[in-house]
Symmetry: C2
Subunit: 315 residues, 2 copies
């Protein structure tokens, strides 16, 4: 009335004072209900204790927070049932979108979200049905095989331990087989055992074989580190008697005492692309899913070396 386009200064002060005095805070729940959309996104993660995922989640949280979203974390190491249940609860909370960093084969979870019209973005996973950014596992395997072959290795085995994201695991195993084949080397049987247990029968059998692998390509760094411990406990020195190469480049890999040769994932870009893409999909949904694969970088450290003479492949 007196000031066009604004309230009287005194009134403004009185309102502000009342806000202060009553400790008023807008109710986000009411706001979300009215607007029929929330500023909340979910993140489904397999194992937060794996430093690669911890770092990835950290970055995703940072970026989504920066974009004004609130982040709900859901750990699903319980399996497919847990995954489905957690998605259901996210959907009931009317999240605006979900990041999937872990995918079970079963598509029920993905379908549920799609039917609900909630955009999904896979980060570090691969699936045709959703937008995904991941590392080019095939390219990583090729780098690894080239490096190992140059060092004289010919028997390179894939190793996986316990809970690893299935689509990633499959892609890395397939990538290694392909790379080994392309290099003209013999494909080895993959080795798998449960991490955190003392069950190593399979590994022991492999090591006892006369023509055992001289190099191991682990499904990820956590597995590689565990493998090295078991190898050395079994009297196989790394890299003198066998080479080991990991995947991810988690921070401990760079420690002098660990010095793990590995494939570095472009984790910052993974998170960035994922968050950008989810924001886009939230703003205008319905575009066909797109996949993006980022190349890893080979970081040569101290767990790979030339094949020991006595084990060099006989011609």
């Amino acid at each position: 009335m007196c000031n066009p386009g604004m309230v009287a200064e005194a009134t403004k002060q009185r309102v502000l004072e009342a806000i202060e005095r009553l400790d008023y805070r807008p109710n986000g729940v009411a706001r979300d209900l009215k607007r029929m959309r929330t500023g909340t996104v979910g993140v489904i993660v397999g194992d937060l204790a794996n430093p690669f995922y911890a770092e990835l989640i950290k970055r995703i949280e940072q970026l989504t927070t920066g974009a004004g979203y609130t982040t709900i974390i859901c750990a699903v190491d319980g399996g497919a049932t847990a995954e489905r249940a957690r998605m259901e609860s996210l959907l009931r909370q009317r999240v605006s979108g979900v990041f999937m960093t872990y995918l079970f084969g079963d598509g029920a979870t993905i379908d549920a979200a799609r039917r609900a019209g909630v955009p999904l973005v896979g980060v570090s996973v691969t699936d045709e049905r959703l937008d995904c950014v991941s590392c080019n596992d095939g390219a990583g395997a090729r780098l690894a095989v080239d490096h190992l072959q140059a060092l004289g290795h010919s028997r390179i085995a894939y190793v996986i331990s316990g809970h690893t994201e299935p689509s990633t695991n499959a892609a890395r195993l397939a990538g290694l087989n392909q790379a080994v084949l392309d290099a003209g080397l013999p494909v080895q049987r993959p080795i798998s055992y449960a991490a955190g247990t003392s069950e190593t029968r399979h590994l022991d059998q492999v090591l006892a074989a006369r023509t055992r692998p001289t190099a191991f390509f682990a499904g990820n760094d956590v597995t590689a580190l565990d493998l090295i411990d078991r190898l050395e406990a079994a009297g196989v020195r790394v890299p003198d008697d066998a080479s080991v190469i990991g995947f991810d480049d988690i921070p401990v890999a760079a420690l002098d005492r660990v010095s793990l040769t590995t494939l570095r994932q472009p984790i910052a870009q993974l998170a960035e692309w994922g968050v950008t893409r989810l924001s886009e999909r939230i703003e205008r949904p319905g575009a066909p899913p797109a996949q993006l694969a980022l190349d890893p970088e080979l970081i040569v450290r101290g767990t790979t070396a030339a094949v020991p003479r006595r084990r060099r492949e006989p011609r």
Copy 2:
């Protein structure tokens, strides 16, 4: 009517079928608004990339999920301003409670939550104003000093690098000083440097001193691991020339190649007590805050050893 206390079977089926067909899902936002409380709790964390916190958050998330809550993660490595802002957003979302695993000195954040009537539980932090579970840092320091003294060490310095939770850092430093004093040993100047940088001037100065410390008590395992790398890069072998002891017992500490002597935190109990306490406080608020300190366990591995002869303290 026909079935007392229940609807006709046919009707039930029709309803269920309609739910299925329409893909109906109860709206949690509307529910929360009506009930004037949410099933959501916040977790404030400093650095998710520190494996100790990753594991702690993982456990907290597991337990709160099991108790039927939804977990919002807030990372605050940005500092006190970020902490305050994230708490504000949690409060606007009307969370039922908040776990604090990182506390800045400034009490503004705590005050805001208290005025809003939102229960706070500190996990792995210590503050008089809220319910807290943490590790008994003083007891840990004593175990460390006893162990080191038995190995002949007399100059034991505290080392901290970068972003460590302030209240924990303070408690461990104070604990070490007290334990050193009680053991009749000379108190050393604490060493601090920024992790992740190559800035080691302070550390280099310390190492150059004629009566340099023979043992280092690191504020946490991440710091200890970083310190060992720097020490060995400077030509100081661990444990031959200097002993290092960490705090937390993160998984990598147990690797044979790392073999870090450290104080293991009872991480499962920390999470359990925290979640139990927050549930209690949510159900009946207003009880006076209580503190609980759990004893750590000394895990002797390979980074501590007897003082080298030539450096043994002259009598």
